[in-house]
């Protein structure tokens, strides 16, 4: 399967020409940093050439769609599985009007850690285009092969939402949700669950000490879309500004609980965190519990209703 950039451009151009959308949101090359792709917005068909679709489009787009469409802008979104679900999260939370987004689904073979590639094989960035060979990305015409297990972004290593679901249109290439690098989405969760309790706490405390509480995880998260985050409020002071083990615990506990049953597993929080806090291990724990306790299937696919806003008469009652 190849990264059909021309096809993407063509689709984007058509959307703009047909006035289906006012703008298209995708990625563009950073002129200063060869490995960097940042979110980019194109308003005229003539400029779709600025868009890029290759193994370095790391940033998630969903959260940006929220603010962009606020003013009623009709937005076409180049959406990988994670982006699409993120947008749907926002739609179901009534933060985005369905009619304001046109989801252009791009089956995603996984994204590479640009800096890593840049450090280890800068010549890869001379490529004109890219092909996906399952276990490798292959640059055309240079033929440079990048092994995925070495270069995949963490979030993509863990990804199980590669296929763009619930899109208005999906770029016609084969591909699927299956990710050979992640047989068991809950592996890390299980490992942690099996640790003895004190060690479990030590594990987290270690991370609490490093978390800067810069809120990058919250700000990139499509599920964290509240008008006013309770963690920012002073009255009531859900979370004190003081940073200590206890407050860090409350911060991460609350965050995890607030996305419980709503997280779309896009892994953006993980990517955004500068110190590598394993936010995924918290989010997926919640997913796992939603599955185990309440039998929610595909806990990462957004629904109108959310598990914690529901109940069943026969919910488990294990409090001893």
């Amino acid at each position: 399967m190849s990264w059909a950039l021309p096809a993407v451009d063509a689709l984007a151009a058509r959307l703009l020409e047909d006035r289906l959308v006012d703008a298209v949101l995708g990625w563009a090359r950073d002129p200063d940093l060869p490995w960097q792709r940042y979110p980019h917005r194109v308003d005229e068909p003539s400029r779709v050439g600025e868009l890029v679709w290759d193994p370095f489009c790391a940033p998630g787009l969903a959260k940006l769609v929220f603010r962009m469409t606020e003013g009623g802008l009709k937005l076409g979104v180049l959406a990988r599985g994670c982006d699409a679900l993120g947008v749907w999260r926002l739609i179901h939370d009534r933060r985005i009007a369905r009619e304001n987004v046109y989801l252009l689904g791009l089956p995603c073979p996984g994204m590479a850690d640009g800096v890593r590639v840049w450090e280890e094989c800068p010549e890869a960035f001379d490529a004109a285009g890219w092909e996906d060979h399952g276990s490798h990305w292959v640059a055309v015409p240079t033929g440079i092969r990048l092994p995925k297990e070495r270069f995949l972004l963490d979030k993509c290593l863990q990804c199980q939402v590669r296929w763009p679901r619930q899109c208005d249109e999906v770029l016609a290439v084969q591909g699927g949700s299956w990710n050979p690098f992640c047989e068991d989405r809950y592996r890390q969760v299980r490992q942690l669950e099996e640790l003895p309790l004190p060690q479990r706490f030590d594990f987290w405390r270690g991370w609490f000490e490093r978390c800067l509480r810069c809120f990058a995880c919250r700000q990139v998260c499509p599920a964290c879309n509240c008008e006013s985050c309770s963690l920012d409020q002073f009255e009531p002071n859900w979370l004190e500004r003081e940073v200590g083990v206890a407050t860090q615990f409350i911060f991460h506990f609350t965050r995890a609980l607030h996305v419980a049953g709503r997280c779309v597993d896009c892994g953006e929080c993980q990517r955004a965190c500068p110190v590598g806090f394993p936010l995924g291990a918290l989010n997926r724990k919640m997913m796992k519990d939603m599955e185990d306790l309440f039998g929610v299937r595909e806990p990462f696919v957004p629904q109108e209703s959310e598990p914690l806003g529901e109940f069943a008469l026969d919910d488990p009652d294990e409090f001893r």
């Binding site: 563009a28 950073d30 002129p31 200063d32 940093l33 490995w35 960097q36 792709r37 940042y38 979110p39 980019h40 917005r41 600025e50 940033p59 959260k63 940006l64 962009m68 800096v115 840049w118 450090e119 270690g206 490093r210 800067l212 509480r213 810069c214 809120f215 990058a216 919250r218 700000q219 990139v220 920012d232 002073f234 004190e240 500004r241 003081e242 940073v243 200590g244 953006e268 990517r271 955004a272 500068p274 110190v275 590598g276």
Partner: protein
């Protein structure tokens, strides 16, 4: 360059001896990420150490710290100031961060109201710098007039030479005291500093940069840069020169503490006033504020650029907002 030559192991022993009774803050790698953490002594650096994700800033200006404790009794309140410092050595600090600390020093010491708590902690800190032999992919210190082998705020500077060999030089009283305890003669040594990976597309000389930017205060480029800003505090918290803080009280029923914590001008409510008025309501103003503060306002105030080219914001901003991009956009490049 005149330095004392020493083998790595001897150097560590010497440092450890001099640093007796002090807290050692050294770069430590915890899965893929380097951080400055408390350890029982200095360490040898593996070759892959460029610089820490989170610099040593937090050990001088903590993420949050009490500044006073209060206790109500009836209608009266008693207040005791906090004693937040411990003698410490911060070891392995790179020139960009050393320069940043120098900048923080000048800011905190600035009249009419020096920030005593920082200065006290600073006075009890020995900085052992480490010159750069290799650059990380986002470094651009020289573009900001910072040199990868300069000592800046350091008391002692370590220059990795060939193999096991290091050169050490002192730049302060304490530094000289310490160095005196290291046997060995001062000798000349050739040190080849790293060359930063990036050089910024500077639209003008550093001297003219403030003016250049102020002329572009209303440039549409700001909007083109900032629309994708997520309003998190990542850049500010990683930035070695960002020092903005907030103050709030932690109350425990009539007694408690007033704490000072890192704040960031990119966060939405940073400058929102109680009445609701906010001079910097959108990401555009906030991103502009951050960059202007570093490259224009502060130079105008204290004559120095508030960026040392450590490259952290470039490497870690999840949405790829960074200085080069800013300069280019304001330069009028279409994208």
């Amino acid at each position: 360059m005149a330095v004392k030559l020493v083998r790595g192991s001897d150097m560590l022993r010497w440092l450890r001896r001099c640093g007796e009774g002090r807290r050692w803050v050294v770069p430590a790698k915890e899965d893929r990420h380097w951080l400055f953490a408390e350890r029982d002594g200095p360490v040898v650096f593996p070759p892959d150490y460029r610089n820490a994700t989170v610099g040593p800033k937090g050990w001088l200006l903590p993420r949050s710290e009490p500044i006073l404790y209060y206790r109500w009794t009836g209608g009266r309140v008693s207040v005791t100031p906090a004693q937040g410092w411990r003698p410490q050595v911060i070891y392995g600090v790179r020139p960009c961060d050393l320069k940043a600390i120098a900048l923080l020093d000048s800011i905190m010491a600035s009249e009419p109201w020096p920030e005593t708590q920082y200065l006290t902690r600073r006075a009890h800190t020995v900085l052992v710098g480490m010159a750069c032999t290799a650059a990380s992919s986002c470094c651009f210190c020289t573009s900001m007039g910072v040199h990868p082998a300069e000592s800046y705020a350091a008391d002692l500077m370590i220059y990795p030479l060939q193999g096991e060999e290091y050169g050490v030089a002192a730049f302060s009283e304490v530094g000289r005291e310490w160095l005196a305890q290291l046997e060995g003669e001062e000798a000349d040594a050739a040190f080849s500093p790293a060359v930063p990976a990036l050089s910024l597309p500077m639209p003008t000389s550093l001297e003219d940069l403030p003016g250049w930017l102020e002329r572009r205060f209303d440039d549409p480029g700001w909007q083109r840069l900032a629309w994708r800003c997520l309003s998190c505090g990542l850049c500010a918290y990683l930035c070695p020169t960002c020092y903005c803080y907030g103050i709030s009280d932690v109350d425990r029923g009539g007694a408690g503490r007033r704490v000072r914590w890192w704040d960031a001008c990119t966060l939405p409510d940073f400058s929102r006033m109680a009445g609701g008025h906010d001079p910097r309501p959108t990401t555009t103003e906030r991103v502009r504020q951050r960059i202007m503060h570093k490259l224009a306002y502060h130079p105008a105030r204290q004559g120095e650029i508030l960026c040392t080219g450590c490259g952290r914001c470039i490497e870690y901003c999840p949405m790829g907002i960074h200085l080069p991009a800013a300069l280019r956009l304001l330069g009028g490049d279409g994208r």
